[in-house]
């Protein structure tokens, strides 16, 4: 489902005299349908950077990121922007560490939005969003409020619901359980297991050892892909 090969990444800090920070050299790994691969390594080793290189909000200097999309393989590093948007809309979801959304848009619409972009009718999208938000224990009274006023844990759950609203064949998860209590962590583990059961490929970062052990099929050692400093 996802195949990364020969990926290089160096940050060039033009505002600091053009200082360069090499991060990855010849990084490579793969994620198959139905499995959850966990990026392992100490804090600061570049796990989130690797996830962003896959999603494409970080730009790779070299290498390929192949994703299976509409029965063909697409290299996201060289694909034209419209193809990247189609892959993000239909095939590859991303749950970031923090929720970023329009102020004043109700939680239910934040979650329904990726469905609307796929052409799901508004009413149906809202119903699916409500079900998911309630499953993640967002109080009914909050569903029609904008998440800006929610607690950190509630915002993270809105973010998770948004990521799981559409059954993406490939899902990237950046510490989805970081600020959640035990009951909600368990729900996220369930969602991940259901996604695996329907054949989704998942690539994630999990600091919580208990969650990690329950969802991981394999580990990828990010340290081993580091570029020499």
């Amino acid at each position: 489902m996802l195949r990364v090969t020969g990926l290089d990444k160096t940050f060039t800090l033009h505002l600091q005299g053009g200082r360069t920070i090499p991060v990855f050299h010849q990084a490579g790994f793969a994620v198959r349908a139905g499995e959850c691969v966990v990026l392992a390594g100490a804090s600061g080793v570049g796990k989130s950077t690797l996830l962003r290189l896959v999603y494409g909000n970080y730009k790779a200097a070299a290498g390929e990121v192949w994703v299976r999309h509409r029965d063909a393989e697409v290299d996201l590093v060289t694909a034209d922007p419209r193809t990247v948007f189609a892959v993000r809309r239909e095939t590859m979801g991303y749950v970031s560490q923090f929720l970023r959304c329009l102020p004043r848009v109700p939680a239910v619409d934040v979650v329904a939005e990726p469905l609307l972009a796929l052409g799901v009718a508004r009413d149906e999208a809202r119903v699916r969003a409500r079900v998911l938000l309630q499953r993640l224990r967002i109080p009914s009274s909050h569903l029609d409020l904008a998440p800006a006023t929610f607690s950190g844990g509630e915002q993270q759950r809105v973010n998770i619901a948004r990521g799981f609203a559409h059954p993406y064949p490939l899902l990237l998860l950046d510490e989805p359980t970081a600020s959640l209590d035990a009951a909600n962590r368990a729900t996220v583990v369930e969602l991940i297991q259901e996604a695996k059961a329907r054949g989704a490929a998942l690539l994630g970062i999990f600091h919580d050892a208990d969650v990690r052990d329950r969802v991981a099929d394999r580990f990828v050692d990010v340290e081993a892909m580091r570029a020499a400093a």
């Binding site: 940050f11 060039t12 800090l13 033009h14 505002l15 962003r52 494409g56 909000n57 970080y58 730009k59 922007p81 419209r82 990247v84 948007f85 189609a86 970023r100 329009l102 102020p103 004043r104 848009v105 609307l116 972009a117």
Partner: protein
């Protein structure tokens, strides 16, 4: 996003001087139906000049603006005659100005401001025109009972929404926006952005939006073009340009945002 027929707009080698100043220097890009492109950069970087060149309101020194017209094939905005450009400007294009006062007629009613564009494209039945004007006023969240009021009695945010209704009533395919949320309160801005986002998806609009507000660009645009002294220094996916800017000037721009 429709994939048939190719890009809606193909811009090639567009340049414009003002005296010795090169305001727009060799700009090129494609825009597809349903795609929102944000042009960002500091004041004087050539953003608004570029927008005027694209809309044919200003003639370039060099370059082409190839527009794929409905049922007509590709036409060059730079070389087309003025009557044809005017027809496109009131049918297939929209232009939302920073100040609603530049895009509205303040001496006629809100309903007439919206209905006027319909009459310009040949609608004659008064009842239908009024009904569609009313429909669009509701869609931009202006109360129906304000239809006969003059825009001068509206707040800035309402005027801006009225300008958007006036532009969208003829169902254009391509809309140019020059700092559309510029002069508005933050709370009004958020609602307008939400409205624009919904309309872009619903109508599969292609939009070129000039803004100095990177948060607006992040929320609205698929792709982002960073301009400095008339040149495009970076063009990429919006989140890539904001999260991992490559050009020195893009890095400066992004690092200058206050974290809210």
């Amino acid at each position: 996003m429709s994939v048939t027929g190719g890009p809606l707009l193909q811009v090639r080698g567009l340049s414009k001087h003002f005296g010795r100043i090169l305001a727009v220097d060799d700009v090129a890009f494609d825009l597809w139906p349903g795609e929102v492109l944000a042009i960002v950069g500091e004041s004087g970087s050539g953003k608004s000049t570029l927008l005027s060149l694209l809309a044919g309101r200003l003639a370039p020194d060099r370059g082409a603006v190839l527009y794929r017209a409905k049922d007509r094939g590709v036409e060059d905005v730079v070389t087309m005659d003025e009557p044809r450009r005017r027809v496109l400007a009131r049918t297939e294009w929209g232009f939302v100005h920073q100040s609603p006062r530049d895009g509205l007629r303040l001496k006629v009613s809100a309903g007439a401001n919206v209905g006027e564009r319909l009459m310009a494209v040949g609608h004659r039945h008064y009842g239908n025109i009024r009904e569609r004007a009313l429909d669009w006023m509701t869609r931009v969240e202006i109360a129906a009972d304000r239809i006969d009021d003059l825009p001068a009695t509206f707040s800035g945010g309402m005027q801006q929404r009225l300008q958007i209704a006036r532009n969208l009533v003829t169902e254009p395919r391509l809309v140019y926006m020059d700092e559309p949320t510029g002069g508005l309160d933050v709370s009004v801005q958020a609602r307008l952005l939400d409205l624009l986002r919904g309309l872009v998806t619903e109508l599969s609009l292609a939009v070129v939006i000039v803004t100095h507000d990177l948060a607006v660009a992040r929320l609205l645009a698929h792709r982002m073009m960073v301009m400095q002294r008339g040149r495009v220094v970076e063009l990429g996916l919006t989140d890539q340009v904001l999260d991992d800017p490559q050009a020195p000037y893009s890095q400066l721009l992004v690092s200058s945002i206050l974290q809210g």
